[in-house]
Symmetry: C2
Subunit: 330 residues, 2 copies
Amino acid sequence: MSQFDVLCIGNAIVDIIARCDEAFLVGNGIVKGAMNLIDAGRAELLYSRMGPAVEASGGSAGNTAAGLASFGARAAYFGKVADDHLGGIYAHDIRAQGVAFDTRPLAGGPPTARSMIFVTPDGERSMNTYLGASVELGPQDVEEDKVRAARVTYFEGYLWDPPRAKEAIRLAAAHAHAAGREVAMTLSDPFCVDRYRDEFLDLMRSGTVDIVFANESELKSLYQTASFEAGLEAIRADCRLAAVTRSEKGSVAVRGNETVAIEAIAVDEVVDTTGAGDLYAAGFLAGYTAGRGLAECGALGSLAAGLVIGQIGPRPRQDLRHEAGQAGLM
Amino acid sequence: MSQFDVLCIGNAIVDIIARCDEAFLVGNGIVKGAMNLIDAGRAELLYSRMGPAVEASGGSAGNTAAGLASFGARAAYFGKVADDHLGGIYAHDIRAQGVAFDTRPLAGGPPTARSMIFVTPDGERSMNTYLGASVELGPQDVEEDKVRAARVTYFEGYLWDPPRAKEAIRLAAAHAHAAGREVAMTLSDPFCVDRYRDEFLDLMRSGTVDIVFANESELKSLYQTASFEAGLEAIRADCRLAAVTRSEKGSVAVRGNETVAIEAIAVDEVVDTTGAGDLYAAGFLAGYTAGRGLAECGALGSLAAGLVIGQIGPRPRQDLRHEAGQAGLM
């Protein structure tokens, strides 16, 4: 009997969100739609140029954990904050959502990670992340009992940026597989894929990872192909299950010979795409760990992604279990 | 020639905003729709019971200053934050909006003020404010040159809660009137009116305040009457100009024998009423200091209030000058 449906592992980050125009991105050398890694000095500079902002707990896998809990799934989280004000906010928000979170905060090191997210009028978000305390996540933070108690252990590809998190992931994957559980990852970002392509492919081909989430750009980056279909066939061969999102074109899930196309939800206005992929994974995994078929898993993912892009910030304000019920999906 | 259209003075507060149900308010003894003052211990208790939240700079007069700047008006602000993380966020947000803000942060005292705002499904907000560093605002923070340079000095009735702010207001009002400027206030909250009824009436009747903003509940509380019409006639006699908001019933402005009724803007969904009164005052004063008639002032107020209640948080994400242009009001 599993105590948790999904354990999520990621960089624990507070988002600082403001709107800007396209010229601002160009003028400040920010790659649009991507996660740009920055150091403390550049963080200070960009903040001085940033417009009025709002703050909300984020982090890719943290958003997924919060989304899972909102769907009523049992979720846990590993991620490193500092023992500071933003860290307190982060811990509050994820626990208040019902996620089990006990990673010890970092004392005496860098501050809690933050990502300055600039949202352009088209709703696209461009992230500028100072990793701060989150880089200290390591094997010492892997709570074996939680890994063994979770049906799926899910982590973000972004964890290949800090130096020691990959050790934590390899350890967690070993515990998970020893307990007969599955391991999932998201490819996170096309540039992240470019930085760690060989390692990500090795994670899949070695069986360290069973389930992969990606968007179309990440898939194409992984296999260095311009063809979505070629990428899809390649990932079908490289992992047990993959779900690939395509923005307004919906998503496709592949598992062995099975292929399921899922429609996107119609959205009135795309306000802020932050969290779209994270919430798709939350919905998909909520369905998957409840034993649903791929079409239903994808529909739950589309529902959650559609809700989060209609608001500012990375975690939907709605009760996702209620929304799924209203949509006839739960 | 005036350097500023409006100088706003208020408690500098960061909002911590979460959703809750009606039972939560009852179970925690929170007066619905009101500003509840709390101490540090109760702040900690309520935060431990609060759901996942987002943080945004707030404070009634701060929201008005931000709204004025978004309308393209020249705004300044006096308010006390601490020399801490939330204080840095507050200063960033108001300056990034284009508001002149130079009040010296408090060192070695209580932390930056915060208000835990619980938003019920009907969109109503119930505030729980720990005043922290904001109580240290006093006469030493009144920058005489800015007061003299502002067409209107506007302050919040909430300033009667901390011990020394009222001295700052009396000093600022004296400087303003000596320079031939006008002084405006908002009554802030019906319970605040109940705490300081005689002092507020004295501010108006002594001519310390020229212009008064109120909502229907505050007006009725001020004159201890159940009749809106009776309240309106009383306030007409007590100040040079008054604007009274009535939620979906719009607003009424009175000045001498003049009476102007203004319609509310139709809103698809009331998400969060936080900031509605503050943004009404911003729109009204943006028009007033530009020499517009009362009907136009009120229409600008309704526009800004209608936009802020359609989103989470106290300051609209839209460019209000652009919105006013689109609506044919500027």
